[in-house]
Symmetry: C2
Subunit: 312 residues, 2 copies
């Protein structure tokens, strides 16, 4: 059965160095290509936490040395991370496809995700990025650059940026055209380059869009059948790590909402995944979200494992 599937891959699954990334994407490619080999159309979204953090840190550090490279805004660091990660991912997937005799093009589209400048997240930046600074340095950055800095228990001060919700995907027509023509597309890397509308233009903002929500948005736009959110575990659990831990095969929107209210899912971890899954399941009849591990993705689509979230 051929489905259109958006797969959301975590940035932590991509390692911390280029060598690690090249090795890890080879593992990623196998289950992705399993899905493709069975006739599914696959769109790959991915996180970029460690990678954009590394790029931002390197740019920031070098700009304060004798090298005097220019300061690089965070949105531009995100654009760089899409090129860096996409290059490795597209190669690994393309190679795995060819190994199996599947001559399918694979492409990375530099993707901007539009957020609302009135999003309430801008009023309370919360996502830490980049290096640690001393109190004096941090005060200087607040004064000179208007950054929001928070103290991180014992490790110094760190910049925080807002995490607004995705409103639209600027390059959606490009992604659609490629998917419709049988290309495997890598898009909304790191949740997308965050931009706000300004007249006819788009302007980069220092923000981090949750990659699960960005994946959900592109899945809706593409009218996907499945949104697969990959995580370290095979299924979602309630009472995770406790005696009465229970792994869930299936979750209705009502059950998911009740579990969220009971505080079963960790913010910044399983919670955004469940929320994005619920949003997709609720967006149209027949749409299903699956939360599972990379290795179990295909078994999950076959209904054999993972946690399915759907509106009944």
């Amino acid at each position: 059965m051929a489905n259109k599937i958006v797969v959301a891959l975590g940035g932590n699954a991509l390692g911390k160095t280029p060598q690690e990334q090249i090795a890890l994407v080879k593992n990623t490619a196998k289950p992705i290509v399993d899905l493709i080999a069975h006739g599914n159309q696959v769109i790959l979204a991915h996180g970029n936490g460690p990678q954009v953090g590394m790029i931002n840190l390197a740019m920031d550090t070098a700009s304060r040395t004798e090298a005097k490279t220019p300061e690089m805004p965070f949105a531009e660091c995100g654009a760089m991370s899409q090129g860096y990660i996409g290059y490795h991912l597209q190669n690994a997937i393309r190679e795995e496809l060819l190994e199996r005799g599947l001559d399918k093009p694979v492409a990375t589209v530099i993707t901007q995700v539009v957020v609302d400048s009135e999003d309430e997240a801008f009023a309370r930046p919360s996502k830490p990025i980049g290096a640690f600074y001393s109190k004096e340095e941090a005060e200087g950055m607040v004064r000179d650059k208007g950054f929001t800095m928070i103290e991180d228990a014992g490790r110094g001060y760190r910049r925080v940026v807002p995490s607004p919700l995705p409103v639209d995907v600027a390059e959606k027509e490009t992604v659609k055209t490629l998917v419709d023509n049988g290309h495997v597309v890598i898009t909304v890397g790191g949740g997308g380059i965050p931009v706000v509308r300004k007249g006819h233009g788009l302007q980069g903002v220092a923000a981090v869009i949750d990659k699960d929500f960005a994946s959900e948005k592109i899945a809706e736009i593409l009218d996907a059948d499945y949104l697969i959110i990959l995580t370290a575990v095979e299924k979602v659990a309630v009472n995770f790590g406790k005696e009465n831990e229970k792994w869930l095969d299936r979750l209705s929107l009502e059950e998911a909402e009740a579990y969220i209210e009971e505080g079963h899912f960790a913010p910044g971890s399983m919670l955004p995944k469940v929320r994005a899954a619920m949003m997709f399941a609720a967006s149209k009849k027949g749409r299903r979200a699956l939360i599972t591990s990379l290795e179990k993705a295909e078994m999950g689509i076959e209904g054999k494992t993972g946690t399915i979230i759907e509106s009944l």
Copy 2:
């Protein structure tokens, strides 16, 4: 008259900082959109010399500080530069299109250009990249990393990489599909991420592919009508800067070859442009190459200025 046009833009036209780049791409967008507004299909290729140099320098510098970010191979720096430059270019072009009521998608495709591992350029690396080092540092880099280092008159030692010829564009099907569907495509940024074939895979190499030759390659692949190579001057000249300086309206392949032999064109500057133009003109009857400035591109297509190279 609608033509398919590959435009090759120099990296020097994109500035040295993100702020400069954002300002400069707005100027770039206008003549590009003029071409589009008159019904032409435009594919944009661009250089990345100053940009990949900056990224490479920042990555290299930061890796040798306390930040200890990982060392970044040169091919990965190229992938980052495609994201960084493409993000700004696609925004400026899209905004200019919308200002004129043209709702055309614009996309940056992360593009690898295949080179031959047997290319003789690999035997004589000549393109300097990155920072300057002391003699001792340079010797260490030769010993530990196998780099080729050359002394740069009085400024220290610098790494040099080979500049092989492009053989193929890995993402050509993606570029074709998008062009055929009316998208404006930004591709082969910086001459493309340089890769060699290895079994079914592609492997990044430390090299710089001349963006004029990479543009020529994608122009051939796309069966373009025109290759426009942008430069700082309106026309190609012989005896440039001398009393008997002569600006050329039209060049046959034979004339161009004769002028090259007479040493009229500077290596690393006008020479590769003329060579790439000749290669395109020679590749198929009716194909024309135009060397001119950004501002004069459209007048050039109309036959009113620039230097046209064609096989007669």
